[in-house]
């Protein structure tokens, strides 16, 4: 057991440790000032310095990410179902969705703020906008990539369309949807931070912007650490749900 675990995780752990040590030594060796490259010790100290209200920022950003993730997931699945259900809807929706997806979200963010004002909601929507497209596509693909023979069985037994949809197409699409949601999880993190960069009064993205103006680089790095912790937790959670809910599929 233990040797197996070691063999699996040792290479990445060693690399991680080497990078951290090199990073810590880089400052003194190359005489870099802390505002240019703070070492990992300084970053961890900043991340655990609770005179900065980290929990508030983490809470706000997490809400934006989870909200954006949820909106992207629900809207993505609904749009995917609509596309798979009706060829007419597919012809109407797909070009429009592709157009929306090609819009640079960073450029759209200011418009959202203009329309919706400051706050959590516009950042949530930006997160959703970045993350919804893979869900649409994968849902539609999963619903339509069904063995012809299974559909033949549906016809032989006179099953109505909705029943074939419920018993065959929908479960068939589940692993596709779940693997799209992994992409959405990381995309939602990007979206929330983009929104906060453009304009926001709280959240980890705001912390980075403010730290940058004050040349307080350790705090900016610390915010980055917190963001990646949130992102990794969400990604891991989606992965766990996928393995538990669709154990027949190899979603990696």
């Amino acid at each position: 057991m233990l040797p197996g675990v070691l063999r699996r995780y040792a290479p990445s752990a060693v690399l991680f440790a080497v990078v951290l040590v090199a990073w810590q030594l880089a400052g003194p060796v190359f005489q870099l000032r802390e505002y240019l490259l703070p070492g990992p010790v300084a970053v961890v100290r900043a991340a655990l310095n609770f005179s900065i209200p980290w929990h508030e920022h983490i809470w706000i950003t997490t809400l934006e990410i989870l909200g954006g993730f949820a909106v992207a997931g629900v809207a993505g699945v609904l749009l995917g179902v609509a596309i798979a259900w009706s060829p007419t809807l597919a012809r109407a929706l797909v070009p429009f969705l592709v157009f929306v997806n090609t819009l640079p979200k960073v450029a759209v963010a200011p418009l959202f703020l203009l329309w919706l004002g400051y706050g959590i909601v516009p950042n949530m929507l930006i997160a959703a906008l970045i993350g919804f497209f893979p869900v649409v596509i994968n849902t539609a693909v999963g619903l339509t990539q069904v063995d012809d023979e299974l559909l033949d069985l549906g016809r032989v037994f006179g099953a109505p369309t909705w029943k074939v949809f419920l018993k065959i197409r929908l479960p068939n699409a589940l692993p596709y949807v779940l693997s799209a949601l992994k992409i959405t999880a990381t995309a939602a993190v990007v979206g929330a931070i983009v929104g906060e960069f453009v304009a926001s009064q709280a959240g980890l993205g705001t912390v980075i912007v403010n730290a940058q103006t004050n040349l307080n680089t350790p705090v900016a790095f610390a915010a980055l650490v917190w963001i990646s912790v949130i992102g990794l937790l969400l990604y891991g959670a989606v992965g766990l749900v996928a393995r538990w809910w669709a154990p027949w599929a190899d979603t990696t």
Binding site: D147, E149, L153
Partner: protein, 255 residues
């Protein structure tokens, strides 16, 4: 009783119309086991789907039990080359699928499904998932699924084509046993069995329909008089070899 009369089928492909089947006429009696043999692409699978009402014939007439086939016919068991089990369902729930699709109460068929699984040696695998079973076992489960609603007609499209030779021979015996070969003939299902294996066709069938390459027509119909129940030893008889040769010659003459 299945009657095909002057059945033809032409479909539109990207490169133009393709004539898959031309002027096919034969009958399958109740309780009869008929094998369709032919080179790949000769339209034998298409013919099976036409009988099931899954694809329309473009000419001629098809009737099952005296009724013209114009749409999917009810209560037919289908087995395909791939087991096509639902990956997310346990084996027992896969076998129960036809009941659910037909709008029947699945729990009424539970004990029958369990009996069928025991019959094919899968009694201990009811709660397993398809990925935990070998290809041969999956195909056995798919046979149980086809038999769940006790259909009088079984349509099988190269069901053992993807299995290794040993498993395939085993499955042949199993199918004949399930079909009720040992009995007097009463209660046997009507079977149309598509294959490209000559020995398989001879071993299983009462009659072998030999088809030509595309467009598929009937080259010959060979009656198989081998006594039933057939056993492993049947394959070693001179008669078996003679019939196989006859079909082989009919196939090569048609090509």
């Amino acid at each position: 009783m299945i009657v095909l009369d002057g059945v033809g089928m032409t479909y539109e492909a990207a490169s133009g119309p393709v004539e898959a089947v031309r002027d096919v006429a034969f009958e399958v009696g109740d309780g009869e086991f008929v094998a369709l043999v032919g080179p790949s692409g000769c339209g034998k699978s298409t013919l099976l789907r036409i009988v099931a009402g899954l694809r329309p014939a473009t000419s001629g007439r098809v009737s099952v039990e005296g009724r013209a086939v114009t749409r999917p016919i009810p209560n037919v068991g289908m087995v395909f080359q791939a087991p096509v089990l639902l990956k997310w369902r346990a084996i027992l729930d896969n076998v129960l699928l036809p009941a659910e699709l037909s709008g029947l109460k699945a729990e009424h068929y539970r004990s029958r499904a369990e009996d069928l699984l025991r019959l094919v040696g899968l009694g201990d695998f009811a709660a397993k998932f398809p990925r935990e079973l070998s290809g041969g076992m999956q195909q056995r489960a798919s046979l149980c699924r086809a038999l769940l609603l006790d259909p009088p007609l079984l349509l099988m499209d190269e069901p053992f084509g993807a299995l290794d030779a040993m498993t395939r021979d085993e499955m042949n015996l199993e199918l004949l046993r399930v079909w009720g070969e040992a009995g007097t003939g009463a209660g046997r299902k009507t079977v149309v069995f598509v294959t490209h294996s000559i020995p398989e066709a001879v071993f299983l069938a009462d009659r072998v329909v030999v088809m030509t390459p595309r467009p598929g027509r009937i080259a010959r119909v060979v009656p198989v008089g081998l006594p039933r129940p057939r056993t492993v030893a049947t394959r070693a008889t001179a008669e078996f070899g003679q019939l196989s040769l006859e079909i082989y010659e009919a196939l090569t003459a048609a090509a």
